[in-house]
């Protein structure tokens, strides 16, 4: 394969050309109640060519990996049509790297009958709760071999694995349907999947508990977020805004996102990095062949960095961070997060809630979204905080706000960092990308809370 790729890259002197070949095998298992609803095995092979001529990108993706030469021609022709002012990519020394998988407890090596057996235990736990109407388990693991080569002399082979799992349960009382769930994941390590008995129990208990819970009136509250939801918050509210492709062509946003700008107090430190090992967003090289890094986005409340591709880094005269990722060979790489988190502070959870007369403790997550300035994120569970104590459960809530105001209102960071590896990130039609995010408990004053 390497010879074929390098042959296709030869003598392409008028363009920057990248070739990517990706092979992937996926196993999915879905339970509905105690029954297996679907087991599927998928194999995919495909590739893509990306060419830069002047300031225009051509991109060609395919499943038939024959005739790479012609596909490179097509990508170069498409890039040439654009005829735009020339753009620069940040410098990088050519890399040759052939990675080997050293994963322990590799999920893709676990026999199918073991996976179904393990999951069946959780289906059993959720199903044994007679108040649960129905439960489901979605499990998926993937093994990927990814080859990246470019005509500046870089050749990289990486092996990656990914695992995502969701347990959910629904309880019903007449027309009232309540659900609870937990999303988990890993970079292919199966061991955690064997230890979810208490999670399965908690999911089914929570769904039933929600039927009796009341709706919280919409309005502004002091909220405390658990590490999982706070991770979603930092991803939505600040992570996306740190992606340089949103910023580099927008002069006004560049001014707002000027390095050195103060966004919050000294207690806030935010990091993103694929170099942090063994998480779902970890890798050695991104999909442009740039080595991964660990980037401070906010340090002591000040904006100190952002996430880059080679194009955005060159345009903004900053260092590439190795954050250009694509969800598969059929998409070009764009600037994405990897493992994003708020660093822990010194405050204990008890101290964090002690001064709150009336507020909301929001936990777990359904989802989150951003439009840069405004964001939403939804909790899977919520409790009222009254006189510094966690009290009754209320129906799940959605929180929302303006990122700049909310970062100012983020007034306290706990000491108990935890990473969440469930779910995935979506951007420009590329979803779900494996990422992780995390945080200690955090407190936000005057946070807008919607109903349901």
């Amino acid at each position: 394969m390497r010879d074929v790729i390098q042959e296709a890259l030869k003598k392409r002197t008028n363009a920057h050309v990248e070739i990517r070949i990706e092979e992937k095998t996926t196993t999915s298992v879905r339970f509905k109640d105690r029954e297996i609803e679907e087991v599927s095995l998928n194999t995919s092979l495909g590739g893509s060519i990306r060419a830069l001529v002047g300031g225009g990108w051509g991109f060609v993706s395919f499943n038939d990996i024959n005739n790479l030469d012609k596909k490179v021609d097509l990508a170069i022709n498409q890039a040439t049509i654009i005829n735009a002012e020339s753009l620069r990519l940040s410098d990088r020394s050519p890399v040759e790297h052939i990675g080997v998988s050293d994963l322990e407890n590799d999920a893709t090596a676990v026999p199918l009958h073991v996976k179904t057996q393990v999951l069946d235990e959780y289906a059993g736990i959720m199903g044994s709760n007679s108040a649960i109407q129905t439960s489901s388990i979605h499990y998926k693991d993937a093994a990927i071999t990814d080859i990246f080569a470019s005509n500046d002399g870089t050749y990289i082979e990486q092996r990656k694995a990914d695992l995502a799992l969701r347990l959910s349960a629904l309880a019903r009382n007449g027309g009232d349907v309540q659900q609870s769930g937990v999303s988990l994941g890993s970079n292919g390590d199966f061991s955690f999947v064997r230890k979810l008995h208490s999670d399965a129990q908690a999911v089914s208990d929570k769904a039933v508990e929600l039927l009796a819970a009341k709706q919280l009136p919409a309005g502004e509250y002091t909220v405390v977020l658990d590490p999982i939801l706070a991770g979603v918050f930092v991803h939505e509210a600040f992570g996306h805004l740190s992606e340089a492709d949103h910023v580099y062509e927008n002069q006004q946003l560049r001014e707002i996102m000027r390095l050195g700008k103060k966004f919050s107090g000294k207690h806030l430190n935010v990091v993103d990095g694929a170099l942090i090992p063994d998480l779902r967003g970890s890798y050695e090289f991104d999909d442009e062949g740039t080595p991964s890094s660990r980037t401070y986005l906010i340090r002591e409340g000040e904006l100190v960095g952002r996430l880059h591709s080679r194009e955005t880094a060159a345009r903004m005269n900053e260092k590439p961070t190795g954050n250009a990722r694509s969800i598969s060979h059929s998409f070009p790489p764009i600037v994405r997060m990897t493992n994003t988190f708020i660093e822990p502070g010194a405050t204990t959870f008890e101290e964090l809630i002690s001064g709150i007369d009336y507020g909301v403790y929001a936990k777990n997550w359904y989802g989150g979204m951003t439009s840069m300035e405004m964001f939403t994120f939804s909790a899977g569970e919520a409790n009222v905080i009254r006189n510094g104590k966690i009290e009754e459960t209320v129906r799940p809530v959605m929180l929302s706000g303006n990122v700049f105001k909310t970062l100012e209102h983020l007034d306290c960071v706990g000491n108990d960092l935890a990473m969440n590896q469930g779910g995935g990130c979506g951007k420009q039609g590329q979803s779900p990308l494996p990422v992780s995010n995390g945080s200690p408990h955090i407190r936000i004053q005057q946070c807008l809370v919607g109903g349901a």
């Binding site: 990108w57 060609v60 498409q78 919409a218 929302s400 919607g450």
Partner: protein, 438 residues
């Protein structure tokens, strides 16, 4: 592709009771503008096939995009069948389908240069109204060949073209960001940009100033776009045969009962020619047909594929939908909500204060199965006595679809197609929780 399908069928038939191959071959050409300028031109070819087998009375499934992977896929499907669900249905025997046109050779033939001109014209016309606007735009043409072949003699094959233009503009004043957007999609090429230009300019004009609502118990008008992105998902999940089968649909056991305001009627009709979600057959080879889901507020039918229909003791509504990598499940084809009797402007004229919602951030990220929705208004306006006062910001709306569709204030006569799958009027609703930041 057909050769490959026949190879798989030949092997699979000898090793299983019944076999079915679903295959898709797609070529699309996106032309992408970023920050007012042409940024990239792409060609994306993809192909893949899925094999479903009935083996020892159980369902097995595997898929691949590798052309030479036939034996492996057959073995994978047989292997998975030992864990699969018991078979309770038969594959479709249909070979004849209604003549529903979804292919236009002109779409396939439109040159990239012309697609580029369309984007340039669109951006130029909109920026001539406001030159501060940063514009992103995608123009995509796509051709798909879809095949469904099974061992019972069922055979469906059709070709579909889709042409889509989507536009998004960002306007920044200080840290305030305004997003304006519109899109149009058809099986035909779309060359006339006036509707997008008009809609976006209207959004910009309506948003010139922001306005605070004075009262939180006010009517909320959902534009067709908001009906699609906010109300349809919770509603469709309750109408899905899978939810009924699990008895988690709030509509379970309510067939023929009044479930919402009598001004709401909804039908699934993937037989309308040249609508992108139309098709001659569903993804299990069942001929497309019209299905009345809700008539004058009364529940008439759910959406079923073969499996869910068999469990529920009924027949498929030709609603099987699938990607290459998974078994089919029920989903709507082309949805039509019935229009009301007044133009939407007339409806607004009669209201002293209300909110119009066009786009919501966070829609679909709450307890959708229970009918809940919630989100922050990304694009929406406050109006008084029919007149738009200004943009509403930092304001959340939330509610439960099953409750608020019983509190319909009015439904407009006018409406539009959204996303190539839904025709919707404007719907004005009462009882929505509104909260804004201080």
């Amino acid at each position: 592709m057909l050769d490959q399908i026949n190879q798989i069928m030949t092997q699979a038939k000898t090793k299983s009771q019944s076999a079915e191959v679903f295959a898709v071959n797609n070529v699309q050409t996106p032309v992408i503008f970023h920050a007012n300028n042409l940024k990239s031109v792409e060609t994306k070819q993809s192909q893949g096939y899925a094999l479903r087998v009935f083996h020892n009375g159980k369902v097995g499934f595997a898929s691949s995009s590798k052309p030479d992977d036939v034996e492996h896929v057959v073995q994978n499907a047989l292997d998975t069948s030992q864990y699969g669900v018991s078979v309770n249905y038969e594959f479709s025997r249909h070979k004849d389908f209604p003549d529903i046109e979804v292919f236009d050779p002109e779409t396939e033939a439109i040159p990239v240069e012309q697609m580029i001109s369309i984007g340039e014209e669109l951006i130029e016309r909109i920026r001539s109204f406001n030159s501060q606007l940063l514009c992103d735009c995608r123009i995509v043409k796509s051709t798909s060949d879809v095949y469904l072949v099974n061992s019972e003699g069922g055979f469906s094959q059709y070709r579909k073209t889709v042409f889509a233009v989507s536009f998004e503009g960002t306007l920044m004043i200080g840290t305030d960001m305004l997003f304006v957007m519109d899109s149009i999609v058809s099986c035909h090429p779309v060359r006339e940009m006036t509707s997008i230009v008009t809609n976006v300019i209207e959004q910009l004009s309506h948003s010139k100033q922001t306005s605070k609502i004075s009262n939180h118990k006010i009517p909320v008008v959902f534009t067709p776009q908001a009906v699609s992105s906010v109300l349809m998902n919770p509603l469709l999940s309750a109408l899905n045969g899978r939810s009924v089968l699990r008895d988690i649909s709030p509509f379970s056991s309510k067939l023929s009962c009044k479930i919402m305001d009598s001004r709401i009627s909804l039908q699934d009709d993937p037989t309308i020619p040249f609508i992108p979600a139309s098709r001659p057959s569903d993804a299990e080879g069942i001929p497309s047909r019209q299905t009345v889901l809700i008539e004058d507020g009364v529940l008439k039918s759910f959406l079923y594929d073969l499996q869910t229909a068999a469990y529920m003791g009924t027949v498929s509504t030709a609603s099987a939908s699938r990607s290459i990598n998974a078994l089919p499940s029920p989903a709507p084809g082309v949805l039509r909500l019935s229009p009301g009797s007044k133009n939407h402007q007339k409806i607004l004229d009669g209201v002293s204060e209300g909110i119009i919602v066009e786009q919501l951030i966070g829609a679909g990220q709450s307890n959708v199965q229970g009918g809940d929705f919630s989100g922050n208004i990304l694009l929406g306006y406050r109006f008084q006595n029919g007149e738009i006062i200004g943009r509403v910001k930092d304001t959340m709306i939330s509610g439960n679809v099953h409750e608020i569709l019983n509190q319909v204030l009015d439904v407009s006569e006018d409406g539009r197609w959204i996303g190539g799958y839904l025709w919707s009027p404007y719907i004005m609703l009462d009882g929505i929780s509104v909260a804004s930041s201080t």
